[in-house]
């Protein structure tokens, strides 16, 4: 039996929403019905925002961070006041923004666009590691700080990058891990304590 246009349009919307991370079939249906009920202006604002972000936002040619500018490079790569000898490597632009908010780092960044992940089908070739190696081989970089997440996928990604950078005379470091600032030993778990011992330093 042929389906009416109304059904197929809603189905299409549900299917598209259902492909978003964390959205199951039920949530997709709920969102679709919200969009059907809300004002045209509200719905089109969302559609326009999606269209604009996809057409205007690109990856910086140097560090792969998201950039809105017409320029090939992002704000950070174009900022001459930043330390040009240090690169901090992160998995995604979101992590870069978190680090920027903390103002703890004043060097350059490199966004990998993911991390090694077996069941999401992300292998070494899916990451922007070649671009990073190119940047390092240009010669001005003295230190690469690996700020991938402190879990197995992040550690594995860091290991892979460290191997690729071993040929260059630079310092490759990994963010410290272990005890949380403001916490207590009593509530640290075994892995946190083990990490803290490995990462201990002179006072």
């Amino acid at each position: 039996m042929p389906r009416s246009g109304y059904r197929t349009a809603v189905d299409r919307l549900c299917a598209a929403l259902g492909r978003l991370p964390g959205i199951g079939a039920k949530s997709a249906e709920r969102l679709a019905h919200h969009l059907l009920k809300c004002t045209e202006a509200e719905a089109f604002e969302l559609a326009d925002a999606i269209r604009e972000v996809k057409s205007r936002i690109r990856h910086c040619q140097n560090c792969c961070h998201l950039t809105e500018a017409e320029e090939p490079l992002c704000d950070i790569c174009r900022d001459p006041l930043r330390d040009q000898t240090t690169i901090c490597v992160v998995e995604q632009s979101r992590d870069l923004l978190t680090l920027e908010k903390s103002a703890a780092f004043r060097g350059l960044y490199h966004v990998l666009l993911g991390r090694l992940s077996p069941l999401s089908g992300i292998g070494p070739d899916s990451l922007s590691i070649d671009t990073l190696v190119e940047r390092v081989s240009a010669g001005t970089i003295q230190e690469v700080v690996l700020a991938t997440n402190p879990n197995l996928e992040g550690d594995g990604t860091a290991l892979l990058i460290a191997e690729r950078l071993a040929q260059f005379p630079i310092r490759v470091t990994r963010l410290a891990r272990g005890l949380a600032s403001g916490g207590t030993l009593e509530f640290a778990n075994r892995d946190m304590l083990a990490d803290a011992f490995v990462g201990r330093r002179p006072v």
């Binding site: 964390g22 090694l116 077996p118 069941l119 879990n151 197995l152 290991l159 778990n189 892995d191």
Partner: protein, 248 residues
């Protein structure tokens, strides 16, 4: 279903919402499960960092009957395999094991022996001189446990025992194992394997220590690995992605 406490290996973790994760676990008592871990990425969560990929955790799972995700309510770390953080080939081998557990097993279909084999293999991946053999051994164990083991003693076409048939043995991936010399001419896509390589597969698939005598870089093991690779590709419908990166 009531909640169940079991050991589990995390084989996939996807971030969802603000601070939660959907983890796919291969559990000892309940088999594979996909579960929502609410607030798992918060600093203070009921999961104590016990949800890292390829680590063993003691978890409490609330299984759901329907299509819905199970709920993970608690977890504590039990064992973490630090070699995987230091040795890239070991890490890729671990990824390969996760992929096999994910793609070959069914949801809520328990295989405690397979869980134990995976755990032991993950623990020993640091022994570089045995790694290829350990992974191949796990692959064959996995195939046997799931009823997918290629036949190595009897013809997979006529069922006759295949003994002393010369230096080369026919092997048909699609039929699921070796074929005798009488069946061979009529069959399509039969490859000829040196007899030592079939013997190597038998050794890898058997209890005992014969597999340790195989040469890690030897030709017999090389053929056996290649054949196991064809079998896995045939079952999965594609090549296992991390297997070559692990050197297997």
């Amino acid at each position: 279903m009531p909640s169940a406490r079991t050991l589990a290996i995390v084989i996939r973790s996807v971030e969802v919402f603000e601070s939660s994760s959907i983890v796919t676990v291969f559990t000892r008592e309940l088999g594979k499960a996909a579960a929502l871990a609410k607030g798992a990425r918060r600093l203070k969560s009921p999961f104590e960092g016990g949800l890292d990929l390829l680590s063993v955790s003691d978890i409490v799972l609330l299984p759901r009957a329907s299509e819905a995700l199970d709920l993970l309510t608690e977890s504590a770390p039990v064992e973490r395999f630090d070699t995987l953080r230091r040795d890239l080939a070991a890490l890729y081998a671990g990824f390969h094991i996760a992929q096999l557990l994910s793609d070959l097993t069914d949801v809520h279909d328990p295989h405690p022996r397979l869980f134990d084999a995976a755990r032991v293999t993950l623990r020993r991946l640091g022994e570089g001189d045995l790694r290829i053999r350990r992974v191949a051994r796990f692959e064959l164990f996995c195939l046997r446990e799931l009823g997918l083991m290629p036949s190595l003693d009897t013809c997979s076409h006529c069922g006759r025992a295949v003994v002393n048939e010369g230096d080369r043995v026919g092997f048909a991936v699609a039929l699921g194992g070796i074929v005798c010399h009488e069946c061979r001419p009529g069959l399509a896509q039969v490859s000829l394997l040196p007899r030592e390589s079939v013997a190597a597969m038998r050794a890898l698939a058997s209890p005992g220590n014969d597999w340790r005598n195989l040469e890690e870089q030897g030709r017999a093991l090389g053929w056996a690995r290649e054949t196991i690779g064809h079998v896995l590709s045939h079952i999965l419908g594609r090549r296992p992605r991390f297997r070559p990166l692990a050197g297997v």
